[in-house]
C-alpha cells in the first residue's frame, strides 16, 4: 500500500469517526428519508376525493332529484344540502364547502323549453387548482346525468363528440406514483447538500483547516476524503428510499434497479459536489447553512418538475431550471419507475447530471484552499 492511498484511508477514517461522533449526519442520511417519505407518501395527495359541495335545490322535482343524486353517489363529492343560496354562501365563505351547485325554482320548466336550463355553479377561486378540478368533476356529473336522461327518454345522446381519455404509465392517475419518485430526488438533494455543506466550513471555523493544510495530504485527497464517506452514506439513504417506494408505497418499478442506482450515483455526486463548493466558498457554517437551504430545498421542490410542470413556465425560468440538478433526476426517476428503461429520456438527463457533477467537483477543487491567507 503506497503512502497516498494510506493518507486517503486515514482521512476517510477520520471523517467516519466524526460522523459517528455527531449522529446528526447519520440522521440526515437515514432518518430523514424515512421520515420525509412517510410524511409525503401518506400526507400528500393531489387527488381530490369527497370534495365538500353545497347543493341548493329551490324546488324539488323528479328531475332535480335525479340530478342531485349524481352528487350523492359520486366518490368525488360529499354533498351538503342548503335551503337557500344565502346559507350556502355563508358556508362557502367559511370554507365548509368548496363549491355551490344551484338549481333555480323553474329548473324543471325550463328543461323542456327551447333554451337550455341554467345550472349555476359557484366555486371558491382562491385555490385555483382545486377550483378547476372541482368544476371538472361537476362537469363529469352533469354529463353523466345528461346521458342517463337521454337514455331514459329514448333520445339519442346530445353530444356530437365524445372524448375518450387514456393515461399511459399511470392509468389510475394515482398521484402517489409520481410524487414518491419525485420526492426521492428532493430528499437526495437535501441529503447530498446537507451532508457536505458544513464539512469544510467547519474545519475553517474550528481552526482544524490549518492543521490539515500543514499535513502532507494534497487538496485532492482532502476532497476525496470528504466525498467518499458521504457518498457511501448517501447511497445508503437512496437504497432505503427506493425500497420504501417499492415495498411500502407500492409504486411499480417498471425499469431496472441498476439504471436507478447509476443515475442516483451521478446525481449524488452532483449534490455532494455542490455542497462541498458551498462549504469551501462560505468558510463559515452560518453562511454555508443559509446557502445550502436556499439553493436546495425550494428549487428542488418547485423548479424540478416534481409538482409544477416545467413546460408551462415562462422561458427564462425554463432556462433557469437547467441549473437545477434535481430536474434531470426527477425525469429519470419518473421514467424508470413508471415507464421503463427509455434511453432517449435517460441518456440525455444522465449526461447532464454527469456534466453537473464534474463541473461542481472541478470548481470545488479549484476553489479549495491550498494555503492559509
Amino acid at each position: 500500500m503506497n503512502a497516498a492511498s494510506q493518507r486517503l484511508l486515514g482521512l476517510i477514517r477520520k471523517e467516519f469517526l466524526q460522523v459517528l461522533r455527531d449522529p446528526s449526519s447519520l440522521a440526515i442520511a437515514f432518518a430523514m428519508p424515512v421520515f420525509l417519505l412517510l410524511l409525503f407518501g401518506y400526507g400528500v395527495s393531489l387527488d381530490a376525493r369527497h370534495v365538500p359541495i353545497g347543493l341548493v335545490v329551490e324546488h324539488v322535482s323528479p328531475e332535480s332529484r335525479s340530478f342531485s343524486a349524481g352528487f350523492d353517489y359520486s366518490d368525488y363529492f360529499q354533498a351538503h344540502y342548503f335551503r337557500d343560496l344565502r346559507e350556502a354562501r355563508q358556508a362557502l365563505l367559511s370554507r365548509k364547502i368548496n363549491a355551490i351547485v344551484h338549481l333555480q325554482a323553474d329548473f324543471e320548466r325550463r328543461l323542456n323549453g327551447s333554451e337550455p336550463a341554467p345550472i349555476q355553479v359557484i366555486v371558491n377561486g382562491v385555490d385555483a387548482n382545486t377550483a378547476r378540478l372541482t368544476s371538472g368533476y361537476v362537469q363529469g356529473v352533469w354529463e353523466a346525468w345528461l346521458n342517463a336522461r337521454a337514455e331514459w327518454q329514448g333520445l339519442t345522446p346530445v353530444r356530437a363528440v365524445q372524448l375518450e381519455a387514456r393515461v399511459w404509465y399511470n392509468s389510475g392517475l394515482r398521484s402517489r406514483n409520481f410524487l414518491v419518485p419525485g420526492l426521492i430526488a428532493v430528499i437526495m438533494t437535501l441529503i447530498g447538500a446537507l451532508l457536505t455543506a458544513l464539512v469544510m466550513a467547519r474545519e475553517w471555523e474550528r481552526g482544524t483547516m490549518e492543521a490539515l493544510i500543514s499535513t502532507p495530504v494534497s487538496v485532492r485527497e482532502v476532497l476525496l476524503g470528504k466525498l467518499i464517506p458521504y457518498y457511501l452514506l448517501g447511497m445508503g439513504g437512496m437504497l432505503l428510499s427506493i425500497g420504501m417506494a417499492v415495498f411500502l408505497f407500492q409504486v411499480p418499478l417498471v425499469g431496472s434497479l441498476w439504471v436507478l442506482l447509476l443515475a442516483g450515483s451521478l446525481f449524488l455526486l452532483a449534490a455532494l459536489g455542490m455542497g462541498l463548493l458551498i462549504s469551501i466558498a462560505a468558510k463559515n457554517q452560518f453562511v454555508a447553512g443559509q446557502i445550502a437551504i436556499v439553493v436546495t430545498f425550494l428549487p428542488a421542490f418547485i423548479l424540478s418538475g416534481f409538482i409544477f410542470n416545467i413546460d408551462s413556465m415562462p422561458w427564462p425560468v425554463q432556462l433557469f431550471t437547467h441549473l437545477v440538478a434535481a430536474r434531470y433526476f426527477v425525469a429519470i426517476l419518473q421514467t424508470v419507475f413508471l415507464a421503463g428503461d427509455i434511453w432517449e429520456v435517460i441518456l440525455p438527463n444522465a449526461l447532464a447530471l454527469l456534466l453537473m457533477a464534474l463541473a461542481f467537483l472541478a470548481l470545488a477543487l479549484w476553489r479549495a484552499p491550498r494555503r492559509l491567507e
Partner: protein
C-alpha cells in the same frame, strides 16, 4: 427594570453585529430570498401554458380540422408534432416529446354527420406527471364541450337541455398565480427566519460562547428576548418587502386590511422563531441546528396547504397540520389578499400562532439551562 432593558439592548446590539457585520452573511440574508421570490413566483403555477402536444389525424373532414384548430390555439396547448403512423404515438410519449396526443380516427366525420352515435376522439396522456395530465384532461374536456355546443347550434340540433354556468369567486379567471405568489412570502419568511433562529444558539454552543452568556447577569428570559428580536425584525422586514413586490410587480390584488396582515406576519414570524430557538437550544453543533431546521421546514411546507390542499390529506395528517405555523399564515395572507378579510375574521388563525410561539419559546428557555455541556 431599566437595567434589564439596558442588558437586553446590549445583547441585541451584539446579535445584530454577529448577523450583519460579515458581508457574506448580509448577502445570504438579503439577496437569495429576493431572487427566489421572482424565480419561484414565475415558476409555481398550475396553469398550463403552451403544453407541447402531438396530433394524429386520420380523418379528412373539415370538422376534424376545426376541432384541431381549437386544440392548437393558445394558451393551453401548442402542437409540436404531427403524427402519421400509429407507432409514432408511443415514440412521442415515451421520449417526453409531448405530454398529450390527440387522435382523431377515420370514422370521425362519418359518425359526426350521421349523428346516430357520438363521434369518438381519443386523448392519450403521459401519466408520469399525473397532476399535469389531469389538468390537461380538464382543458381538453372544455375544448370538446365548447365544440359540441357550437356544433349543435350550427346544425340546429336540439342543444343540451341544461347547461352549467360556472363562476369563480375571489379569482374570476382562476389564475393560480394569485394563490401561489402570496404563499411564497410565507415560504421564504419561514426559510430565512428559521435558519437565523436555529443556528443562533447552536453557533454559540459550538464556539463555546454560550457558557459565557449564561454566567453574565442576563437571565434566560432576557437571553431569549435578545435572541428572538433580531430574527423578528429581519423576518418582518423581509416579509414587508416581499409583499410590496407581490402587490407592485405581480399585481395580485390586496383587498383586505394591512393591519390584519401585519398582525398575522408578526405572530407568524414569532412562532417560527420560537420553533427555531427551541431547535437551537436542543443542538450542540450548527450541523444539528441546520438539520433540525430542515426537519421543521420541509414538513412545514409540505403540510401547509401551499402546493396540495389540506383537505386531500388523510385525517390523521390533517390533525398534524394544526401545529404548523405556515398553515395559519397561508390562510391569513390569502384571505387578506384575495377575500379582503379583516382582523375580526382572522382571530381563529391568530391565537394558534401566538400559542405555538409562546409554547416553543418557553421550551427553549427551559432547555437553555438543562443542556450545559
Amino acid at each position: 427594570m431599566t437595567s434589564m432593558w439596558w442588558r437586553i439592548q446590549a445583547l441585541l446590539i451584539k446579535e445584530f453585529l454577529s448577523l450583519l457585520k460579515d458581508k457574506k452573511s448580509r448577502f445570504v440574508l438579503i439577496v437569495p430570498p429576493l431572487v427566489q421570490l421572482f424565480v419561484l413566483s414565475y415558476a409555481a403555477t398550475y396553469d398550463l401554458n403552451q403544453l407541447p402536444i402531438a396530433i394524429y389525424n386520420e380523418d379528412r373532414g373539415s370538422a376534424a380540422r376545426d376541432l384541431i384548430a381549437r386544440f392548437n390555439g393558445p394558451p393551453a396547448f401548442r402542437e409540436v408534432l404531427r403524427i402519421e403512423r400509429q407507432a409514432q404515438i408511443a415514440e412521442a410519449l415515451d421520449g417526453k416529446q409531448v405530454l398529450m396526443v390527440l387522435h382523431i380516427g377515420q370514422q370521425f366525420s362519418r359518425d359526426l354527420l350521421s349523428s346516430r352515435q357520438p363521434a369518438a376522439v381519443q386523448i392519450l396522456l403521459d401519466g408520469r406527471d399525473s397532476n399535469t395530465a389531469q389538468i390537461a384532461l380538464g382543458y381538453a374536456r372544455t375544448v370538446v364541450s365548447q365544440f359540441n355546443s357550437d356544433w349543435a347550434h350550427q346544425h340546429n340540433q336540439p342543444g343540451s337541455p341544461a347547461e352549467l354556468r360556472v363562476r369563480a369567486w375571489f379569482n374570476p379567471n382562476l389564475e393560480s398565480r394569485w394563490f401561489i405568489v402570496p404563499g411564497i412570502v410565507g415560504l421564504l419568511t419561514l426559510v430565512v427566519t428559521m435558519t437565523v433562529a436555529a443556528l443562533s444558539v447552536a453557533r454559540e454552543r459550538e464556539q463555546g460562547t454560550f457558557d459565557q452568556l449564561l454566567v453574565t447577569p442576563l437571565t434566560p428570559a432576557e437571553i431569549l428576548i435578545g435572541k428572538a428580536i433580531p430574527g423578528l425584525i429581519i423576518g418582518v422586514v423581509e416579509a414587508s418587502f416581499s409583499i410590496f413586490m407581490v402587490v407592485v410587480w405581480f399585481q395580485v390584488p390586496l383587498l383586505g386590511s394591512l393591519a390584519a396582515l401585519y398582525i398575522g406576519i408578526v405572530l407568524y414570524v414569532f412562532s417560527v422563531i420560537g420553533a427555531g430557538l427551541m431547535i437551537s437550544s436542543l443542538s450542540v453543533t450548527q450541523q444539528q441546528g441546520l438539520l433540525g431546521g430542515f426537519l421543521v421546514i420541509v414538513p412545514g411546507v409540505i403540510l401547509s396547504g401551499y402546493a396540495t390542499p389540506i383537505e386531500n390529506m388523510p385525517e390523521l395528517v390533517q390533525h398534524l397540520t394544526l401545529v404548523n405555523p405556515l398553515r395559519y399564515f397561508l390562510i391569513i395572507i390569502r384571505g387578506v389578499f384575495l377575500e379582503g378579510l379583516g382582523v375580526a375574521d382572522l382571530v381563529d388563525q391568530y391565537w394558534p400562532l401566538a400559542l405555538i410561539g409562546l409554547f416553543c419559546l418557553s421550551c427553549a428557555g427551559l432547555l437553555f439551562r438543562k443542556r450545559m455541556y
